[in-house]
């Protein structure tokens, strides 16, 4: 019960903090492929790999892959 109350309160908080409730049937735009977080999977892999090996800092994404001895 408490759990439910917390969620309700948090939802209320969310809605008053500038976020609008978006009904499932209003999510067509959000689901559009132009809205994707990372775009093409292979392109994202390669870009991350190149930036990882050519720049002094890396990270910031979800589960990172392995390293490489790239110079």
């Amino acid at each position: 019960m408490n759990h439910k109350l917390t969620i309700t309160l948090l939802t209320a908080l969310l809605l008053t903090s500038g976020c609008t409730a978006v009904k499932p049937w209003e999510r067509g735009n959000l689901a559009s492929d132009v809205m994707s977080w990372q775009g093409d999977a292979l392109k994202a892999s390669l870009d991350n790999h190149v930036h990882f090996s050519k720049e002094g800092s890396s990270g910031g994404g979800q589960a990172a892959g392995g390293g490489c001895g790239c110079n």
Binding site: S32, G66, G67
Partner: protein, 395 residues
């Protein structure tokens, strides 16, 4: 009329609101894709190189992707990449007697191949635990093999939908174990010291995605990585780095839909990075993704602009022979610099087929750092371009 009747619609709509849980279940299609990229680095400046070798790396990259549903709620994503590399890389940069930076390139052209395999199964939970849990749980295993370097990475990641899917929590934990085995280990003390040494990393990421309204969504994340082991570069002279590196990232990504032609979106990505070697960096990426429908084709064009800048590591120096008991590196990647990149991604879709052509150009320079600019010159800083051709089939 009882008081409750007024809210019937609200009650019914609330019960119906979770519906897309089932529509958003594990993807049901199989995807096979191939992508070829050519990566080319611009030549090093001749007047600064000591050996006359100016040619830097040129890499051909072949990438394969195959994704398919496994069981009802399981989806498997796999990627294989192999690249062949040729060219030379910077071994040392130092300040000569004239106060100018001189660059020592590795002599002979290196020919190398790298293989990389990634497998990531994912389980989709939609409405599990009596409708209380919507989310995913995934695993990642990756292996990368070069003749002088091996890396194994393992990870888990998960996501959890909250507040009628207005908010998503993402988290991941991954680790990697790398092993160095420099070629011709016996030709230098640095290389033989590194031979057989290992490198470990543990990464944690926690992010939150929030739908702002029906056109806008934002994602912020916090990442932490600890690297330990042999973190120096055996191929560089006078390269002695601390055995531990703690990296912290704060990221924000923003997407806004624009109802233009076939639909468009503004992308804004930012990353702040800080580590205990003294490097701070800022990365800003902006994209405009534009859909265009021309039956039976549809196109997507995405111009991209990226700016990157970082400060130098505390032990970065251009001294020719620094004291042996001090950390030291002249690796351009630990210097203070900035970089601009721009590019264009384009894809054309025709029924099950998608063709893509991508191009990007990257420039870096010590002056692009804009702040904390130094008088030190860094002739090893790289400019590169990547051209990619891809084909994808969904069924």
């Amino acid at each position: 009329m009882s008081k409750s009747t007024r809210n019937s619609l609200a009650a019914l709509a609330a019960a119906a609101a979770t519906m897309p849980a089932f529509g958003e279940a594990a993807p049901t299609e199989q995807v096979a894709a191939y992508r070829f990229s050519q990566y080319n680095e611009a030549d090093a400046p001749l007047e600064r190189t000591q050996t006359g070798v100016t040619e830097r790396y040129s890499i051909d990259i072949h990438q394969f992707r195959y994704s398919r549903p496994l069981a009802d709620d399981w989806y498997l994503n796999s990627e294989f990449q192999y690249e062949t590399l040729s060219g030379a890389s910077p071994m040392h940069t130092y300040e000569n007697a004239d106060g100018r930076s001189a660059l020592v390139m590795s002599g002979a052209s290196i020919d190398e191949t790298r293989y990389d395999l990634k497998v990531a199964p994912k389980r989709y939970f939609s409405g599990a635990m009596n409708g209380q849990i919507d989310g995913t749980l995934g695993g990642l295993a990756a292996i990368s093999i070069e003749n002088d370097y091996r890396s194994l990475a393992l990870g888990v990641d998960g996501s959890l939908e909250l507040f009628n899917k207005h908010t998503t929590l993402n988290g991941s934990l991954s680790m990697s174990l790398d092993e160095l085995s420099p070629t011709d280990a016996d030709i230098s003390a640095d290389r033989s010291r590194a031979d057989g040494r290992g490198k470990r990393s543990v990464s944690l990421y926690e992010g939150i995605t929030q739908i702002i309204d029906k056109n806008r969504v934002i994602q912020v994340g916090l990442g932490y990585t600890r690297l330990s082991g042999y973190l120096s570069d055996p191929y560089r002279w006078e390269d002695r780095r601390p055995g531990q590196r703690d990296q912290l990232t704060v990221t924000a990504q923003y997407r806004q839909f624009m109802p233009l032609w076939g639909g468009a979106a503004i992308h804004g990505d930012y990353r702040y990075y800080s580590d205990n070697w003294g490097i701070r960096s800022h990365t800003l990426t902006a994209r405009w993704a534009q859909n265009l429908n021309m039956a039976p084709f549809s196109f997507q064009l995405t111009p991209m602009l990226r700016y990157y800048r970082q400060t130098a590591a505390e032990f970065y120096s251009l001294e020719f022979s620094p004291p042996q008991d001090q950390y030291n590196s002249s690796d351009y990647r630990l210097s203070s610099y900035g970089a601009f990149a721009y590019g264009l991604e384009s894809r054309a879709r025709y029924y099950n087929w998608t063709l893509s052509i991508d191009w990007q150009q990257y420039f870096s320079g010590e002056n692009f750092a804009l702040v904390q600019s130094t008088d030190d010159e860094t002739p090893a800083l790289v400019d590169y371009s990547i051209i990619s051709l891809g084909i994808e089939y969904k069924y």
